[in-house]
């Protein structure tokens, strides 16, 4: 892992051999990197440098800091208040609220839109995010008109995790790439629950039994705080299940 993704510190020089080259596509820089003309690339945060040769892109993986919305992210927001035609949604408590139009829910019309009280949780996608405007959200896919799993979250409990864990959980193959297997393990133990992972560092867990929710929450937060590997996660799950019984 370490050889694949070398550790970089802000201002480090990046070994030119690490920079991907591609014949046709231009080089794309992701978060944590800065291009200083003419041809220097500097990391701006401490983390692991990841390169993707196929897409000819590179970025720095880092855990922590505060969440900065970017387009297409799935987030768990909390309704702050309702205005005439939109909800103001808090993505993180210390940044400006995002806006979520009343009609951007599946099958919503003026009469059938969901009525959300202040404090309700929604799973939403960021549609607009730039530095000078408040972000905008949607709970329905603009192209298909389907919710695709987005919308208000009923019941359950939201747990705070680090941004890094949230990102790893959202990876398509979270076990191989992200090194988190804890949710699969819990499922394999026969627990019935559903989750929604927000890129803003919140994980919602829903289940009929509060016991299951507490257990999943503890497994997630402990994995996060102690930075457990896959093997340790397995042990943790076994231990928690034993405690619960």
């Amino acid at each position: 892992m370490a050889t694949e993704h070398p550790l970089v510190l802000p201002g480090d020089t990046i070994d030119p051999s690490l920079i991907p080259t591609h014949k046709k596509q231009p080089l794309r820089l992701g978060p944590g990197l800065r291009h200083v003309p003419p041809s220097t690339i500097l990391p701006t945060v401490a983390g692991q440098l990841v390169t993707d040769l196929r897409k000819n892109s590179m970025w720095v993986e880092y855990n922590g800091g505060r969440y900065i919305p970017s387009q297409g992210d799935l987030v768990i927001g909390q309704v702050a208040r309702s205005a005439t035609d939109l909800y103001f949604v808090t993505i993180t408590p210390y940044t400006a609220n995002a806006s979520l139009p009343h009609l951007s829910f599946e099958g919503a019309s003026k009469k059938t839109r969901p009525q959300l009280l202040p404090g309700a949780l929604v799973y939403a996608r960021v549609t607009l995010a730039n530095r000078h405007m408040d972000p905008e959200l949607e709970c329905v896919s603009a192209t298909t008109g389907k919710a695709e799993g987005l919308g208000p979250l009923a019941g359950g409990m939201a747990f705070d995790v680090s941004l890094g864990l949230a990102r790893r959980l959202l990876m398509a193959r979270s076990r191989e790439e992200g090194g988190v297997e804890v949710l699969e393990q819990l499922g394999a133990e026969g627990l019935a629950f559903e989750t929604a992972v927000g890129r803003n560092g919140r994980v919602w867990v829903g289940s009929d039994s509060p016991k299951t929710v507490v257990l999943v929450g503890r497994a997630l937060t402990e994995t996060d705080e102690k930075a457990l590997g896959v093997e340790q996660q397995r042990k943790l799950v076994k231990k928690l299940i034993r405690e619960m019984r």
Binding site: Q78, Y94, L117, G119, M157, W204, G217, L240
Partner: protein, 293 residues
């Protein structure tokens, strides 16, 4: 101004629902504290207390000043509490929130008014020179139950503190540096500790010890009881909140007493360990100072 993060409706409902089923989010028993850690600094009178994710640092210091005119025979003893934005963005410097005022009042009542420190022993020359002992409490990280952690830190810091030795000869007061004479401990009478109960439910029927920040935001009321290990109540503060049955309060006081005895034993053990550690290190430090010159 940044706000304090409000818990969402889902969290509020879930925490209460789970409590009805005897479940806490971190899997603790209702009357179980989070792991309590105490480390002393290299200097005398520095205590760093962690209670789960809550962390409080207390530093005791002393200086010679003039006593108050109305109390010429008493030394001065102050506790200064500061909740900085380090603990939570909702705290601001220089503008005490209600929480901060209540915490400092509670510490004052628990430690100062209960006479834990013998202020008369701080007097050097009546009406002219007294020791002024001051404890600064800094909250480094806030995850609930600041009061218990802060009180434990204050008492630990004061018990650990050594003030410079003094002597009085023919009207001349001499204050010795630590190199000349070993500093002396404060004249300490008893060690009070705070135990905070949080009440949940419409009737306040669920009582929790050591609530986390999340739980504190959802609770319906709280009651802080200060006791020492001899079973003396130093202070009780149930400042409003949902009404609780009187019998429950009595039971809570009795449970608090056993917790306080645990705290007291824990602090005694830590202090003994620290003295042992210093005994070895003290000699070494002196040797190395010689070598420097």
């Amino acid at each position: 101004m940044p706000r304090e993060a409000e818990p969402s409706l889902n969290e509020r409902q879930f925490i209460l629902q789970a409590l009805q089923e005897n479940l806490r989010l971190d899997g603790r028993e209702f009357d179980q504290y989070r792991p309590l850690e105490l480390t002393f600094g290299d200097q005398y009178g520095v205590a760093d207390v962690t209670l789960g994710k809550t962390r409080v640092l207390a530093k005791a210091s002393a200086e010679v000043t003039v006593p108050y005119v109305d109390r010429p025979l008493d030394g001065i003893f102050n506790i200064a509490t500061e909740l900085s934005p380090m603990a939570s963005p909702a705290f601001e410097v220089g503008r005490p929130t209600e929480t901060e005022v209540l915490i400092s009042r509670l510490l004052e009542k628990t430690v100062r008014r209960s006479g834990a420190l013998d202020t008369e022993s701080l007097c050097l020359v009546a009406g002219q020179k007294v020791w002024s002992v001051r404890v600064d409490v800094h909250v480094l990280s806030h995850d609930g139950n600041l009061i218990d952690a802060a009180c434990f830190a204050v008492v630990s810091a004061l018990r650990h503190f050594r003030k410079p030795d003094t002597s009085m000869e023919s009207g001349i007061l001499t204050v010795y540096t630590p190199a000349e004479r070993e500093p002396v401990a404060l004249s300490w009478l008893h060690s009070p500790f705070c135990v905070t109960w949080s009440y949940f439910g419409d009737e306040g029927e669920i009582a929790l010890l050591d609530a986390t920040w999340r739980e504190e935001q959802v609770r319906a009321g709280s009651c802080t009881i200060s006791l020492n290990r001899h079973g003396e109540i130093c202070q009780i503060a149930k400042l409003g909140g949902t009404p609780v049955e009187a019998v429950t309060l009595l039971q809570c006081t009795n449970t608090a007493l056993t917790k306080v005895q645990e705290f007291s034993a824990f602090l005694d053990r830590k202090l003994a360990e620290d003295i042992k550690r210093r005994d070895k290190g003290g000699l070494m430090a002196e040797l190395s100072a010689e070598n420097d010159r």
